[in-house]
């Protein structure tokens, strides 16, 4: 199932990249998924309700990094 979903995601990504290359006359296009983390009311209030702080944006990796295997 996860392989199927991954293939769908990669097809979608390629389609969007190809569209942007065609639209802007580019040869290559790099897409990055960015997560915008929402802050809780208390933290937002402490930061003067700024919702666009650079620290709240995180680039998501394309490949999952495998966790370290803890050997006995």
């Amino acid at each position: 199932m996860w392989k199927h979903r991954r293939q769908q995601y990669e097809a979608l990504k390629k389609s969007v990249a190809d569209h942007l290359c065609d639209r802007h006359g580019a040869k290559h296009c790099t897409l990055t998924r960015v997560e915008h983390i929402q802050l809780s009311p208390d933290i937002s209030k402490a930061l003067n309700l700024r919702l666009d702080l650079p620290q709240t944006y995180r680039d998501l990796p394309e490949a999952l990094t495998a966790p370290e295997v803890i050997k006995p």
Partner: protein
Amino acid sequence: MSTLASPLKGNLRELSQGFNRFWFEPSDPHTLAMVRLCGGAMLLYTHLVWGLELSHFLGPHALVTTDTALRMSTAVDGSNYTWSYLWYVQSPLLIGILHWLGIIPFVALMVGFKTRWFAPICWVYTMSYCHRLIGLQYGLDQVNAMLATYFMVSAAPQVLSVDAWLAKRAGHPIKLRDEWTTVALRLIQCHMCVIYFFGGISKMRGDDWWDGSAFWFAVANLEYQSLDLTWLVEFRWFVAGLSMATFFWEMFYPITVWPMKTRWPTLLMAVMVHGGIALALGMKTFGMAMIFGNMAFVPASTMRAFLAKIGIKTDGTEEAHA
């Protein structure tokens, strides 16, 4: 045994009569006609908007190409139950011609002209675009598809329509009350209940709704924000109250919307929730589409009185049921 059978027979007869009354008792068309006018306008608007950047959405260089859309709509076992005439049309010229020809049925549906013919054509267009434009749609398109489907049952052309005007001019009698009007309205009403019930169920799975912070996370979502309501952070109890009120309203909508005593507060809450979504979260068309769906619960007599108040005289009969 006969002491059990007799009341059971009576109950079944009552159930059957109630079922028939609910679904098939003829009703006035004013409410459905208004839903058709507004829903048809939304379908037309959506179709026009696709047309503003048609080459970005359809064709060989689309944001989501046909092959990608087909792949995204294919299940892991290889099955694909979607259908669209757009799977077979790749030429930008033909896509454009067919797209702009589609304006005709959408206008016809909205103004109530030959809706028996044009409503199914609108449905084919709507579903074709829904299935082809997978990944590029949201709630508005789902409500559009729902309304387009039920308009095929009846689009209430007896009032607020070109057909009614033409029939009057020609001196032809119009059969005002119709059981198909009731069927179409009931389908829209039941579908709205299903939407809200499952919306409420899915909210139950989120901690944000239980702890009252969901409303905050909605207004603090910068990517959706069209009206800055973050100052509400100073009024935590109000924010929590709004979260809870929204959750309980949605959860119990299928129960509270039917009795006349609780229907108007339920519909008022719907207008406030969807109006709020439209104003504060930028989803104007979705908010409006949901309000149009809720309009299906307005009694025909009330709709007729409202139309008379704004200067639109229509024929009407005595309301048999709400």
